[in-house]
């Protein structure tokens, strides 16, 4: 896995937050996590990746962050459905950014949103994922990249 590939997915998340009113998003230092115990918050938007690299990339966030983000976007209804939509939208931005950067070399799927952690269908087994913490206001979310080349 090259850092350039990781950077493209991270840029997708940063790009999303730059479209919001409160652009002050910070990235934590990346670290590794075993796929047997994946890192996840309340809502997770997953995009499947195939082609030059295979696996998945997901954006995971706690409901508190999503609720706050919805409000800052002018959406007063912070029900579960809207939070799912919001996570899907972030995942969409990530995949859109990846598509434009990688072109046809990477096959990027339509995002799937789940509550909690991705299951074994999504994560390549017996390997590690890169976790890049995303800090927005007082909340923490994460981009998790789990790809094999």
């Amino acid at each position: 896995m090259s850092e350039k590939t990781l950077q493209v997915f991270i840029d997708g998340v940063v790009r999303y937050f730059h479209h919001t009113q409160d652009k002050d998003v910070k990235l934590g230092t990346p670290y590794l996590v075993e796929n047997s115990s994946p890192a996840a918050f309340d809502y997770t938007g997953i995009i499947g990746v195939s082609g030059a690299s295979k696996g998945c990339v997901y954006f995971t966030a706690p409901s508190a962050l999503l609720r706050h983000l919805l409000l800052s976007l002018g959406e007063t209804d912070t029900n579960s459905e809207n939070m799912v939509d919001l996570v899907g939208e972030v995942a969409n931005t990530i995949s859109g950014n990846a598509r434009s950067e990688f072109g046809k070399d990477f096959m990027i799927s339509v995002p799937v949103v789940v509550q909690g952690a991705p299951d074994q269908i999504h994560l390549p087994r017996s390997m590690r994922s890169y976790v890049i913490p995303v800090y927005w206001k007082a909340y923490s979310a994460a981009v998790v990249i789990s790809l094999i080349q």
Binding site: M1, L6, L27, G48, S50, V110, H122, R128
Partner: protein
């Protein structure tokens, strides 16, 4: 041009033609006889009128006789008699010889001569009776015309009246016979017409049923054959293991395709799909373009199929098929294309009418091939590793792996810690530095050059980060990638060791290969190896003297710390303490430097590790200059420090007196690691030295009980 197979449909064409012919014949006959019946009806009417005229004539005669002398009534009766006489005569002659007469509407109609035997007979007899009356009446009319006297007229009239009264009923009967005869002729014609119609329609219906029966049977046979052929096709398409479908000249997919195709492509149906849309989502744009051009060539009759076979880009092509879980399923498919030509168009004719596409899922084979290649590459890599670890003490290697994983975990934990400011980044970097440097020392001691090299790269990246202003999280991506690589390589070594351990369990050569697996005690690092390697890299000659390491009982946690400490101190002694052989000779010393490592348990129970070299000792000025260059202290501050405090600078992160960075020295984290490790056991370190003669580090670790109390 449309070609029609007449032979196949000859029977039905003849039958339908016959059916139409029969219908047309019946129609024509019907038409003709109807016309004749209409004429006969006219004849019957006129014959009936003759009956009526014969009576009207007699009546007119009486009227004339009675009106004679009264000019008005006389003229009216004469006109009536004249009219009835002329019409009867004309009509009678027309019946006998054919000719024209007036009908009831006073229009001229043509009559054919009556030909039936009875009719002719009746007419002959009527003529015989009519002729005398006709003559008598002619005389009456002439007399009126010539203006003779009433007495003469009455004589003529009486003569005519007498004849008429005598023959009136006979003439009436004869005209009646004629009418009846003509009616009977017309009736016989109508009967004939009905018979002809009945026969004609019967034949047509019979013909229709023959057609129905014959051709329904033929249709049923054909349907049965078609159904059987269709069933065979369905069976083939259901059973065949390849994906089969036809592409038409407009590059659309045909309606029939094998079930396996849907399975291979993970689709529900392919109706109204084009080849382009089928391939566009699963192969690259470049392959798609080439494939469409290739299929286009197959439809071109001028191109030989065999010559362009190699241009097919879809051989063992990797396709990525989206599944419902948001992921992709990667398959390897081979697409084969073959022209489909029909009867009458061969290779030399026009291009293909359709192209048969065979899709074969070769994923299993390709994966197997790739796995074999990967296994081969993996084995080669393992073999390379194996050659390096075979020269390494098995117990040490086990300890190394176990400690390395712990170090990696600590590095990862450090990366995971959120940071709030630049100082936190610096602390994070220093902590990671200590771990990786210690790891590098261990790898170096074991002669594991690859790990030493990877650790060195890791340190380079950390240094780059330290020199970067305004650090942010994404700057650590490279570090995370390098950590992942270190972990992967270490896992590979562990797997190798496990394999060797299982091998050794059979051969009983080295039962304790992996402490990770067996959980045995941590051994001492091989200092002889370390000294050999570092001294040869530094071009120095060194004699290592150790004592107490094997004799003094030490717990695992202490030994782990002491291993780290002794590795750093010995390496520093070789790199910084001992002079090069020429310099030593110049200083009247033996060219081979000496390093003493001694471990002893003191009467108070604490452990004492001493590492001493007979090198150049410490140079306060060099240390001061380096400390100044670190920028943390002012020159005045440093000048005011006494030697003891100055020496403590050596334990600051980033301090090194080495001129350049190498695998053995120059990072300035070695002594930092030593201090960290000693502190972890509440130990202390002291330094003594004499410039140009020696330098000695003494480490004291309190006994466990004291440590607990201190803690």
């Amino acid at each position: 041009m449309l070609k029609f197979d007449f032979g196949k449909y000859k029977g039905i064409i003849v039958s339908i033609a016959l059916f139409l012919l029969l219908d047309a014949s019946v129609l024509l006959l019907n038409f003709y006889i109807s016309f004749e019946i209409a004429e006969d009806a006219n004849d019957v009417n006129l014959a009936g009128r003759q009956r009526m005229l014969s009576q009207r004539m007699v009546k007119s005669l009486f009227d004339l006789d009675s009106a004679l002398g009264t000019s008005a009534d006389e003229n009216r009766a004469l006109t009536e008699l004249q009219f009835t006489h002329d019409l009867f005569d004309t009509t009678l002659n027309a019946f006998i010889a054919g000719g024209s007469t007036m009908n009831a509407a006073k229009q001229e109609v043509m009559l054919s001569a009556v030909s039936s035997e009875n009719g002719v007979q009746a007419l002959k007899e009527a003529q015989l009776i009519w002729e005398p009356l006709h003559q008598k009446l002619q005389r009456v009319f002439k007399s009126f015309a010539n203006g003779v006297t009433d007495a003469d007229l009455r004589v003529l009239l009486d003569d005519a009246l007498n004849y008429s009264q005598t023959n009136n009923l006979v003439l009436l009967r004869l005209m009646n016979d004629l009418t009846n005869e003509l009616e009977s002729v017309a009736a016989s014609k109508a009967t004939r017409l009905r018979m002809i119609q009945t026969v004609g329609i019967s034949l047509a219906v019979l013909n229709f049923f023959i057609i129905m029966f014959h051709f329904l049977r033929q249709l049923r046979d054909s349907d049965r054959k078609i159904e059987a052929a269709r069933q065979e096709t369905v069976d083939i398409l259901k059973t065949v293991n390849e994906g089969l479908f036809l592409v038409k000249s407009d590059l659309n997919i045909g309606s029939q395709y094998s079930e396996q195709l849907l399975t291979i492509l993970n689709r529900r149906d392919l109706r109204n799909e084009s080849l382009e849309s089928l391939l566009s989502n699963i192969v690259t744009e470049k392959d798609l373009k080439t494939a469409l051009s290739f299929v286009g060539l197959l439809f071109n009759g001028k191109v030989k199929e065999k010559l362009i076979g190699d241009l097919n880009p879809l051989q063992e092509v990797e396709v990525n098929i989206a599944n419902r879980d948001g992921g992709f399923e990667t398959k390897y498919l081979s697409f084969d294309f073959a022209r489909v030509t029909r009867r009458g168009t061969g290779e030399s004719g026009a291009g293909a009418q359709e192209v048969l596409v065979t899709v074969t899922d070769v994923t299993a084979r390709v994966r197997l091939e790739r796995e074999l290649e990967e296994t081969k590459a993996h084995n080669e890599q393992q073999l390379e590793m194996l050659t390096s670890i075979l020269h390494t003490d098995a117990n040490l290697l086990g300890t190394f792996i176990s400690q390395s994983f712990n170090r990696f975990q600590r590095i990862n934990d450090n990366l995971r810690q959120p940071v709030k400011n630049n100082f936190s980044y610096r602390q994070k970097n220093d902590a990671i530095f200590r771990e990786v440097h210690a790891f590098k020392g261990d790898a170096s001691a074991l002669g594991l050059n690859r790990f030493e090299e990877l650790a060195h790269q890791f340190e380079n990246e950390l240094e780059r980060l330290n020199g970067t202003h305004g650090l942010k999280g994404s700057d650590y991506l490279t570090l995370a990638v390098q950590l992942d690589r270190l972990m992967n390589d270490m896992e590979m070594i562990q797997q190798l060791i496990t394999k060797l351990a299982s091998f050794n369990s059979v051969t009983s050569i080295a039962p304790n290969l992996s402490p990770v697996v067996s959980g045995n005690k941590i051994p001492w690092v091989n200092l002889d190896d370390l000294v050999d390697k570092v001294s040869s890299r530094q071009a120095k000659k060194v004699m290592l003297v150790t004592s107490g390491l094997q004799e003094v009982a030490v717990s695992d946690d202490v030994r782990s710390v002491l291993n780290d400490v002794v590795v750093q101190l010995v390496r520093n002694a070789v790199c910084h303490g001992l002079e090069e052989p020429k310099q030593r000779l110049f200083n009247n010393k033996h060219p081979k430097g000496r390093i003493d490592v001694r471990l002893a348990r003191l009467p108070n129970g604490s452990l004492e590790l001493a590492v001493q070299d007979d090198g150049r000792g410490l140079d306060a000025e060099t240390i001061r200059a380096k400390a100044l260059s670190m920028g943390r202290w002012s020159r005045e501050e440093l000048e005011s420090w006494e030697n003891k405090k100055l020496l403590s600078v050596m334990f600051q992160p980033g301090f090194s007196t080495a001129v350049s960075v190498s695998e053995d020295a120059g990072r300035g984290v070695g002594m930092d690691v030593v201090m960290q490790r000693i502190n972890s056991l509440q130990g202390k370190i002291s330094i003594s030295h004499k410039p140009g003669h020696y330098c000695r580090f003494v480490v004291q670790i309190p006994e466990p009980e004291s440590r607990c109390q201190a803690a």
